[in-house]
Amino acid sequence: MNWSPRIIAAAMALALALAGAGCAKKPVATTPVPPAPTPAQTEAPPTPPTPIPVPEPEATKPPVSASSLQVVYFGYDSFQLDDGARAALDANAKLMRDNPTLNVSVDGHCDERGTVEYNQALGQKRAESVQQYLADQGIPANRFRVISYGKERPADEGHDEGAWSRNRRVEFTPR
């Protein structure tokens, strides 16, 4: 673990809270921490005890997460982006430009029809066509990881056209 001042401060604050001696009002470990010096630091005692190793707080999430990005849907056996897909991706591109620390996994999915292997490749094509479109909008490739899940992770376990259309998709998940 990298003992940055921020983490040490958070650890100390947590130790204090656990001991009942602190006066922290917020659950430190789950509050998003802005890039400036943390509020926890102002509440730390002047002579800190030895820091206790605690799990690194989930404090590095940007205010906008991968789930803020819209899901993109596809036609049967297709990786072409239609008007609806492009509109969703235009909105996603804006969100990513506005949140330059937001890095995401681009996950390609398929409906259950066809073989595992073919759908694996089709999901890859879908994810790559989405990533390419976002790259063309100026979002650098190093902000993405592209993964195909083929037909392994359906959003809808049904076996009809409605379920299939919801499963032919590219989702954005935390990288």
Binding site: T115, Q120, A121, I147
Partner: protein, 429 residues
């Protein structure tokens, strides 16, 4: 960091075992020429083994395993003498034997004789630890098939498969008849497309273990320790060994699109075999190693194509049906099995290796992932033909497909091992 566990040693062991068996068996030269899988079944009567035993290795259990093996071989039509012989035609062959269990050792003196003369074709003693008694009976069954057809049976082979558990898939293996199913992975991840090495000691498979997308791994079912073969950026899927075990055909997307590649057995020195902006995947070797079948949607929908092993001479396999995928080349070399989409489901067809003679083998429901047995007489496949997904075997002589018992698990993506038996060989003659 990669496994090359003892294929040579395993092969030598198998050779030694076969040589030993041939040397000791009293054999008459009764052989029937077997071509292209299906033959007319030969009537055979299984007489109950004499002798005593107890528990899982009772002689009646052994009787039933032998009768099932010989019937499953698609070489014999088996009459169980201990059930009823009233209306059965006179057999051409008869099996019998003496069975005993003493301490931790099971012993079988098995006999195959012609009928009604009862001249000996095979008289052989087998022994094994009691726990491996089924393998002992499988060995006798395969010897019987070998004596009559000249080729070993497949009763000692195994089937690897994938079990879906919620959103996850794990790799499993079991005996060819569905017994002894056990998991090989517990990654709570996704596993796809298992494929055996030519000597039957290793399994290639695709897995998401590690969380970086699909990568190709290899594992010995005995050791259960996976080694990475290919974890390149993007797809690493659909892997299978060449018949000589020196190359691995697979699908990679490292060059920006799903293409078929040939790697060396450790995953290095990639050689790109396809070059098309369409999807190219699911490569499968001809038993000669000189050609591959693969799936491509370069004509608009998935179709099976053939190419030379250097990627040359690409040609479409068949024009008789539209939307074909999942090619599997018979170990005999003469036919290719595949799936074709019909309405909302998939049927399994075969055609000759030149694409002619396409005909349906299984219809109704979704019948997927056909894979051949080593003798080319059977296909194992995944199907929901009776409701939930499970594994089925069909003989190519028109017999009804039979469902393998996978304990109610949702079983998919089967792969039938070659004949070679896993080491250590616990059955002795």
């Amino acid at each position: 960091m990669r496994a090359r566990p003892w294929p040579v040693a395993a092969s030598l062991l198998a050779l030694a075992a076969v040589a030993l068996g041939l040397a000791r068996a009293q054999s008459a030269d009764v052989r029937i020429n077997v071509k292209s899988g299906a033959i007319a079944r030969l009537p055979l009567r299984c007489e109950a083994f004499q002798g005593q035993g107890s528990g899982p290795a009772s002689s009646r259990d052994a009787d039933d395993v032998l009768a099932a093996d010989l019937q499953n071989s698609a070489v014999f039509n088996v009459e169980r003498a201990w059930v009823s012989a009233a209306n059965d035609p006179q057999p051409q062959f008869v099996t019998s034997g003496r069975w005993s269990v003493s301490g931790s050792t099971a012993r079988l003196n098995g006999e195959l004789r012609d009928f009604p003369g009862r001249r000996a074709i095979l008289v052989q003693e087998y022994s094994s630890p009691v726990a491996d008694w089924r393998r002992l009976v499988h060995r006798f069954a395969d010897d019987c098939v070998q004596q009559i057809t000249g080729e070993r049976g497949i009763a000692e082979s195994r089937i690897a498969f994938v079990v879906r558990e919620g959103q996850n898939k794990e790799l499993w293996v079991m005996d060819y008849d569905g017994h002894g199913a056990r998991p090989l992975t517990a990654d709570r991840s996704i596993v796809q497309s298992p494929s055996w090495s030519p000597e039957g000691s290793l399994l290639l498979f695709t897995s998401w273990r590690g969380g970086n997308g699909p990568a190709i791994w290899v594992m010995s079912p005995e050791q259960r320790k996976p080694y990475l073969v290919s974890g390149r950026p993007g797809l690493n899927t659909s892997a299978s060994y060449s018949p000589d075990g020196q190359r691995v055909a697979c699908t990679l997307s490292q060059d920006g699109n799903a293409e078929v590649y040939s790697l060396d057995a450790r995953g290095g020195s990639p050689q790109r075999l396809t070059n098309h902006r369409a999807i190219d995947t699911s490569p499968c070797w001809a038993p000669t190693g000189r050609e591959l079948a693969f799936t491509s949607d370069r004509s608009g929908s998935p179709q099976i194509y053939l190419m030379d092993s250097d990627g040359g001479s690409v040609r479409r396999l068949t024009f008789d049906v539209d939307y074909t995928d999942s090619p599997a080349w018979s170990p005999r070399g003469d036919r290719i099995a595949f799936v074709t989409r019909v309405g909302g489901g998939f049927d399994i067809w075969t055609c000759r290796a030149d694409g002619t003679g396409a005909q349906p083998v299984l219809t109704g429901g979704n019948n997927e992932n056909p894979r051949w047995s080593a003798d080319g007489r059977h296909l194992v496949f995944a199907s929901n033909r009776d409701g939930g997904y499970g594994l089925w075997v069909t003989d190519l002589d028109g017999a009804l497909p039979r469902k393998l018992n996978t304990g109610g698990r949702r079983a998919l993506s089967p792969a039938w091992s070659p004949r070679a038996r896993p080491s250590p060989d616990t059955v002795s003659k």
